[in-house]
């Protein structure tokens, strides 16, 4: 990995993210680019059209190489592919196969590559794990979120706690060797007890990986992300009301206690908290996601998807219509890359980004990364405040307290 002081050059894609923006129904807290209901499964269903468009984009991106449109200097097969959403497990297996075939043709997929599919546990959502495995999926990320029926209901989830176990069993039987569960904490109505119970039940199902997320109720409109070229869709009025009601039921102190509880329990169960929100049995870390924190080059396709090539962060606009119109113009016209935007990083913000992302990892960053003048004060402050500690090997990492208060440090680095 490059050191902070260097200005990393563009790199051929290490991984590829594919965004599949369809769900059976939309959860009110979710900010991802998602279309649901008739848009996803009904008469106006555009899944097949989207898959056609994705395949065109995959071809175009592979030919244009780096995200800024430079030719790919030394193309190499992808080490990771991540099919995220939305609910990619909804995808008909034929479509899944077409997408993966297109990726193999355009980029190539390295032997032993990690190919992750996000799945929901509900019977009407999880699809056919055997067929998914046969198509090449090696890793499943299951949106469990909670084991408490009342919490699942409040969160607008379609599955029951029992469905989570059923989904895992089916995946195991299909031969998928790496399974992750997502759980949410700081959920309205949640107690420390229900959280401890959920963790217990999650551990007992024997997943190789766990992602624990504090529920964050943001407002992408207020952040200016939902305009015509924005990478987010505006939340519905109902979702906005839901968030407004839920926010007062969240509690930072309770959330911090839940996080501490998880740190202890999962360590006991043999998991390594390798990233601020991610735990894995050794060897089961998400290689794709590590790519983000290590600032590897990750190509991306699909509405709202974000790519990075070492110096430019690029994204596609969220709107499906514009996306499809660009890639499938019809009338014999040539397809073009979909609308979107980009941010070119200067060396200062790249260095800050590198520190911030690196510190999310358990292994932290080299001590030398803090020797740059703008970071030295922050370093001293964070060590004295008990947020950072040095490890024996001249690296520094966040303490558990430091993880929970990491923005206090990060805001000083930016």
């Amino acid at each position: 990995m490059s050191s902070v002081a260097e200005f990393p050059a563009t790199e051929p894609a290490f991984g590829l993210y594919v965004h599949l923006p369809f769900c059976v129904s939309i959860c009110p807290y979710c900010d991802f680019v998602v279309y649901a209901g008739a848009d996803a499964r009904g008469p106006r269903n555009r899944i097949e059209i989207l898959v056609d468009a994705l395949i065109v984009e995959i071809g175009l991106r592979a030919r244009s190489g780096g995200t800024a449109g430079r030719a790919d200097p030394a193309r190499r097969p992808l080490s990771t592919v991540y099919l995220g959403g939305g609910t990619p497990s909804l995808l008909p297996v034929g479509s899944l196969r077409r997408i993966l075939d297109a990726i193999r043709t355009a980029f190539g997929i390295a032997p032993g590559a990690e190919i992750t599919l996000e799945a929901n546990p509900g019977p009407d959502e999880r699809g056919d794990p055997a067929a998914q495995a046969a198509a090449g999926i090696t890793r499943l990320s299951v949106g469990a979120q909670s084991f408490a029926p009342a919490e699942l209901k409040r969160l607008g989830r379609r599955h029951s706690p029992a469905d989570i176990g059923l989904a895992l069993d089916a995946a195991r039987q299909a031969g998928i060797r790496s399974i992750s569960l997502d759980l949410l904490y700081d959920v309205p109505g949640q107690t420390l007890d229900s959280w401890a119970d959920g963790l217990e039940r999650a551990v007992s199902l024997g997943p190789e990986h766990l992602s624990l997320y504090a529920l964050s109720l943001d407002d992408p409109d207020a952040e200016g992300l939902t305009g015509p070229g924005g990478d987010h869709l505006p939340p519905s009025a109902g979702a906005r009301r839901w968030r407004k009601r839920a926010r007062p039921e969240q509690d930072d102190d309770r959330a911090a206690a839940m996080y501490h509880l998880a740190v202890h329990r999962l360590r006991e169960a043999g998991f390594l908290g390798y990233e601020l929100a991610n735990w894995a049995l050794p060897g089961h870390e998400s290689r794709h996601n590590l790519g983000y924190w290590e600032r590897r080059s990750i190509e991306a396709v699909g509405p709202g998807a974000h790519a990075f090539d070492g110096r430019v962060r690029r994204w596609n606009a969220a709107r499906l219509d514009g996306y499809i119109a660009a890639l499938l113009p019809g009338g014999g016209r040539q397809p073009s890359l979909p609308p979107g935007g980009e941010e070119i990083l200067d060396s200062t913000s790249a260095a800050a980004e590198s520190l911030i992302l690196g510190l999310r990892l358990d292994r932290g960053v080299p001590l030398t990364a803090f020797l740059e003048p703008p970071f030295m004060d922050a370093f001293d402050w964070a060590v004295s405040a008990g947020l950072l500690e040095e490890t024996g090997d001249t690296r520094v990492h966040l303490t558990t307290r430091g993880r929970l208060l990491s923005n206090e440090l990060f805001a000083r680095l930016i």
Binding site: Y17, S211, Y213, A214, L215, S216, E223, L225, D231, D252, D253, A255, A256, Y259, L276, A277, N289, Y292, W293, I298, A300, G304, A305, H306, A307, F308, R313, W315, E343, S349, E353, I356, L357, R360, A385, R403, L404, L405, S406, N407, E408, F410, A411, R412, I414
Partner: protein, 606 residues
């Protein structure tokens, strides 16, 4: 056209806010063709934006009207406008001194108000002829008979002298103009006598320097004279003189009895204060006109830029505003919490508000003002002398104090009788003493109190208005210093005193106020990385304590490809937030906390 002295009339208009003074002035201008109807903007005399918005007249203005009277002769009427707020009573008195008569305008639906009453008394003291006018008689709620009775009871004005009008509808305006000619005496004064001109207002002009507004009491001023200001002793070759129509129109000479302006070429309005006497440097008058007083600051506050980078801008803005308004004082001060700023003295609370608003508006500044204070006299122990303190931060510790004195005011409140109870309660809760009560008419009363000025300047006026549903009005004047049992209450955050939050309180109320303040601060100071105690203390004696619990969680829940740019923006926002905070020791306090505490208006008062 030169009009002889016997056909000059100098008058002003006395009215409460909203009783229609400016509208009446507009009608007089129209009827005398001073301003053509097509050029009329509403409220011509209120030329400052702020005045039009607040519906009040801040600075006096003057205008010359040429009126063809029923007797077939043309009279020169000088309307001298007066500020309509209690903070400016000295300026009002100087404007009145420049006149021989005053039109008293009273709203037919509202009746006479406290301040109007005070100004009429001022006018009577100056020997002015009063022309009583009941305005807004077109209103459905008008009760001219009740108001006439009130004028008779309160001011002994015979009912046959009262004119009825509606300035808005143009009713009764000609009768008012005739009354000005018939009832108000012409000015006296020898045109060949020694030059004496009363300065009743001034403004600063970038080209002409200080322009003073004068009423000549005697003598003649020529366009090329050298003038002297008798109180400041400054001399200057005058640049221009003229009259108000209402724009400035130069003339060659002004004679006794006339009203006009003199462009002095002076660089600071401080050199030509309202009330000073202008005379001829070559042949000066032996004595100045009576009544000159230096503008006196009653209310003091620190004014700071919200962003420390704006300090040089604030300095420039204050200097430039001061050229135009010499009635506030300023000197640099610095505060641990608020950085560099200025300690300013104002005529009153409204004056403070106006100065702050003008600085913000005319110079595009974001400002924060510390809690207003009065000037205390502190006698130190052991014959170490007396201190004048207008900033709580410099108030000595209790152990060094022999005695403290604070300024008191006499307060007149006029209110519908229904609100007597709540208003008595308000004043006693503010350490006030009741002096007396009289009925103006069956429904309305005049109540007199005496009250420490410090209690008045916090939010007394707002409270008065809210407890009387907007009906009560007030006026006050200073009545000197009285002994007080006061202590300094310090606020400490994480053990560090925060100078900008110190206040002077009555000893009996120190603990209550301390509790209210610490509770308020607890809500306003965001959680920090460690527990933060907030204490209120008198010297080393802690009277109240609250704790802001430590921050436990500030973290990005997830951070994948799509989150990085978005979350960086969020972190940048947090960073900007931190930069706007004031560091006191190791604690970051948002500016809003100071602001909110300073604007404490829930009766947490001192």
């Amino acid at each position: 056209m030169k009009i002889p002295q016997e056909r000059l009339r100098n008058f002003s208009i006395i009215a409460h806010i909203d009783h229609g003074k400016s509208t009446l002035a507009d009608r007089l201008l129209e009827m005398t063709h001073t301003i053509e109807a097509r050029l009329m903007t509403s409220q011509v005399l209120d030329s400052m934006d702020l005045e039009r918005e607040k519906g009040i007249t801040i600075k006096a203005r003057a205008v010359r009207l040429d009126y063809l009277a029923r007797d077939g002769r043309t009279y020169g009427l000088n309307l001298i406008d007066t500020p309509g707020h209690v903070d400016f009573s000295y300026e009002v008195s100087r404007s009145l001194q420049a006149c021989e008569g005053a039109i008293l305008v009273v709203d037919a639906a509202q009746g006479i108000e406290a301040q109007t009453l005070a100004n009429v008394h001022l006018a009577l003291r100056e020997g002015l002829t009063i022309i009583p006018v009941i305005n807004k008689i077109d209103l459905p709620s008008a009760q001219p008979d009740v108001v006439i009775e009130e004028l008779e009871n309160v001011l002994a004005i015979p009912r046959e002298e009262v004119l009825l009008a509606s300035a808005k509808e143009g009713i009764g305006i000609d009768a008012i103009l005739e009354a000005i000619v018939e009832r108000i005496p012409a000015p006296k004064g020898d045109p060949d006598g020694p030059l004496q001109g009363l300065i009743f207002d001034s403004h600063y002009d970038a080209y002409k320097g200080v322009v003073v507004y004068v009423r000549l009491a005697s003598g003649t001023l020529h366009a090329h004279d050298t003038i002297r200001l008798m109180a400041s002793g400054v001399e200057s070759d005058l640049l221009e003189l003229g009259v108000f129509r209402p724009q400035l129109v130069p003339v060659q000479a002004l004679t006794a009895g006339e009203v006009g302006y003199v462009a002095t070429g002076l660089k600071s309005v401080r050199d030509a204060q309202v009330g000073d006497t202008l005379t001829n440097a070559k042949a000066p008058a032996s004595t100045p006109l009576p009544g000159y007083k230096e503008a006196k600051s009653l209310v003091f506050a620190g004014i700071y830029p919200l962003s420390g980078d704006d300090y040089p801008l604030l300095r420039e803005a204050i200097e430039r505003l001061h050229l135009n308004d010499g009635s506030f004082t300023y000197q640099p001060e610095s505060s641990v919490a608020l950085g560099f700023g200025f300690r300013c003295g104002f005529l009153g609370l409204l004056h403070m508000e106006i100065v702050q608003e003008r600085l913000e508006r005319e110079f595009s500044l974001d400002l924060i003002a510390s809690a207003p204070s009065v000037q205390y006299r502190v006698v130190l122990i052991g014959n170490r002398g007396t201190l004048s303190v207008d900033n709580p931060a410099f108030f000595p510790n209790a152990g060094e104090i022999e005695a403290v004195e604070e300024p008191w005011v006499s307060l007149a409140v006029i209110t519908p009788a229904t609100y007597i109870g709540p208003l008595l309660e308000l004043s006693t809760s503010r350490r006030g003493t009741f002096v007396g009560l009289e009925y103006l008419d069956p429904q309305r009363v005049l109540i007199r109190f005496e009250l420490p000025l410090a209690e008045l300047i916090i939010d007394y006026f707002d409270q008065l208005k809210s407890r009387s549903q907007g009906y009560a009005s007030m006026d006050y004047e200073e009545i000197g210093y009285r002994a007080a049992n006061l202590v300094k209450l310090d606020i400490m955050v994480a053990g560090e005193p925060v100078d900008a939050l110190s206040l002077i309180v009555h000893r009996d109320r120190a603990a209550t106020t301390g509790r209210q303040l610490t509770e308020r601060l607890k809500e306003l100071i965001p959680r920090q990385m460690f527990e933060v105690p907030i204490q209120a203390a008198i010297g080393s004696n802690v009277v109240a304590r609250e704790t802001v619990r430590a921050l436990r969680k500030n973290v990005l829940a997830k951070c994948y490809g799509g989150d990085i740019s978005r979350k960086k923006k969020l972190l940048e926002k947090q960073k900007e937030g931190k930069q706007r905070m004031k560091r006191v020791g190791s604690v970051e306090i948002p500016q809003e906390a100071f602001l909110a505490v300073l604007r404490i208006d829930d009766g947490a008062g001192r």
